[in-house]
């Protein structure tokens, strides 16, 4: 067994440390912030499997969270709460398997647009189903306590981080990297590209389904336009760009950076939050394409070069 590298231990320890520290403050505010942070970490880590490792940039990842949330409310009362959340995850994974075969045939900008369109399509399907049923938002009463949800989401963040670390280590990760670099060459040296892409897509959908179910439990109601809000997809991509998506560090750093920034700015300068966010995004795309994680690597290598001389 290979020894864990810092790029593997750092994100795991960071998530575990934050999870352990936040409850110490003993306020629901910190639990709420932590819940959101872990939700984003789980979402961005999942996204990284198909979009970072395999290079298929999904701009519709909210669809899996939406499906998870929808399955939770549909099964509400019929099955135990956690069974509903797990069913939501499985439904999201199944959906990815079903749509993956046609969707993963296109790449580059076409895949980006297609995933975005697919998520919007799913949103309107659910809106119309709900309208036809005469439901205008569904209330969930008597869900788990904030603290319970907090720990469930922390577990999801850890699971997502572990999933990225594990995928990078095994044959699947090597195959996905080859797909990202040159899909034709990957296939020609023996990578079963179709199967690997489909598996990665389904894997990247499971946790978002669970996260979406927890989001619904936290807010206490389900409303399709909110559960399938494309801004969630955009935020995932933004966090991945800011943090980096080469390994498991980026999603943790990106989510942490954006959640802390938004908490600070919303409190003091709500008017300029979006402006600052936009400027940051442009800055990262131009000057740090591998995000904060890439910046850290660069700092370390120049530091190492200086130490060597």
């Amino acid at each position: 067994m290979r020894l864990p590298a810092p790029r593997e231990t750092v994100p795991l320890l960071l998530v575990a440390a934050i999870a352990a520290i936040l409850p110490v403050f003993g306020s629901d505010y910190y639990l709420g912030v932590g819940f959101a942070l872990f939700g984003w970490i789980a979402l961005v880590q999942s996204w990284t499997i198909v979009s970072g490792l395999a290079g298929y940039i999904s701009l519709g990842h909210v669809v899996f969270a939406g499906i998870g949330g929808y399955v939770l409310v549909l099964t509400w009362g019929a099955v135990p709460v956690w069974a509903g959340a797990v069913l939501g995850a499985l439904a999201a994974g199944l959906f990815a398997l079903l749509v993956g075969l046609p969707v993963l045939r296109v790449r580059g900008p076409y895949f980006v647009i297609l995933t975005f369109g697919l998520a919007e399509f799913a949103k309107y399907v659910v809106i119309n189903i709900e309208n036809a049923l005469g439901k205008f938002g569904r209330l969930i009463l008597g869900g788990p306590q904030v603290e319970t949800l907090y720990w469930a989401m922390a577990a999801a963040a850890l699971a997502g981080t572990l999933a990225v670390i594990a995928t990078r280590r095994v044959r699947l990760g090597a195959g996905l990297a080859a797909v990202r670099e040159d899909e034709l060459a990957a296939e020609t040296i023996g990578v079963p590209t179709v199967r690997f892409k489909l598996f990665a897509f389904a894997l990247s959908a499971l946790l978002p389904g669970f996260v979406g179910a927890l989001f619904v439990l936290r807010t206490g109601y389900f409303e399709p336009a909110q559960a399938f809000d494309p801004v969630i997809s955009f935020t995932i991509v933004t966090m991945a760009i800011i943090g980096g998506s080469e390994d498991a560090r980026g999603p943790v750093l990106g989510a942490l950076f954006l959640v802390v920034l938004s908490e600070l700015l919303w409190a003091s300068f709500p008017q300029v939050y979006m402006i600052i966010l936009g400027a940051l995004l442009i800055g990262f795309v131009l000057f740090a394409p591998n995000g904060v994680a890439g910046l850290l690597d660069r700092l370390r290598s120049t530091g190492g070069a200086r130490a060597a001389t």
Partner: protein, 238 residues
């Protein structure tokens, strides 16, 4: 070992290959000659599964390759290089080779005994092993094509113009490397080359394609004297 059986390939109205048949004996170096556009690379693509032929089939011993996806053909022990190099640019040279080792042939033959270090040594890439593949010179990227293909543990290696653009000294190195791949590892080699001298020196058998058809086949010295080949290459004598 490899049987190409009445292969044809058309792109719309353009006939790239027509009724090509030959058999590559086990352990040989089999040369494919022909002018630009003669169909040589198309032939390799139909063998490796990157293109589906319009007619005919390709067999490796008793296994029908035609119709299998490329990764299954690689699994059966056929590896190819790309004339226009396709390295995994963002990965290091070592990772490129390691990916080949991790996938490739199911029953690893030939280069099976070699690990990444062995392949990097054989192909002269050890000094640049930790560089990103995209940062290599063209000559190095051509060698990386061979290294990655070898890493898949093939029984049959298809080399597509691995000497084009190399200096005479580099061509000599490449010739020595191809010979060693055949004799030391027992890999059967099919080779497309524009460098005529190199091809003649290396090959046991040569097939000459012209406009998608076979115009000559046989030992290199016979093929070189063939009037049809001289016409195709040098133009008609008036």
């Amino acid at each position: 070992m490899l049987t190409v059986d009445r292969i044809g390939k058309s792109f719309g109205g353009v006939r790239a290959l027509h009724d090509i048949s030959f058999t590559v004996p086990e352990g040989s170096i089999y040369g494919i000659m022909g002018a630009n556009g003669a169909g040589k690379t198309t032939l390799f693509a139909t063998i490796a599964g990157n293109l589906a032929p319009s007619a005919g089939e390709v067999r490796l011993r008793d296994l029908r390759l035609t119709g299998l996806p490329p990764h299954r053909i690689a699994g059966a022990g056929v590896a190819r290089t790309f004339q226009i190099v396709r390295p995994f640019r963002g990965l290091s040279v070592r990772e490129n080779v390691a990916t080949g080792l991790r996938f490739g042939a199911r029953n690893r033959a030939g280069a099976a005994a070699l690990d990444a270090a062995g392949i990097l040594g054989l192909t002269g890439l050890a000094p640049v092993a930790d560089r990103p593949a995209g940062a290599l010179t063209l000559a190095q990227q051509k060698r990386l094509e061979v290294a990655r293909a070898l890493a898949t543990g093939p029984q049959l290696l298809l080399l597509d113009e691995v000497m084009a653009g190399l200096t005479p000294a580099e061509v000599q190195q490449m010739i020595a490397m191809v010979r060693s791949i055949r004799s030391d590892m027992g890999v059967t080699v099919m080779i497309i080359e524009h460098v005529m001298g190199a091809l003649m020196a290396l090959s046991d058998h040569v097939v000459v394609l012209d406009h998608g058809e076979t115009i000559a086949a046989g030992p290199p010295e016979d093929v070189a004297d063939d009037p049809a080949v001289q016409t195709a290459y040098l133009g008609r004598r008036r």
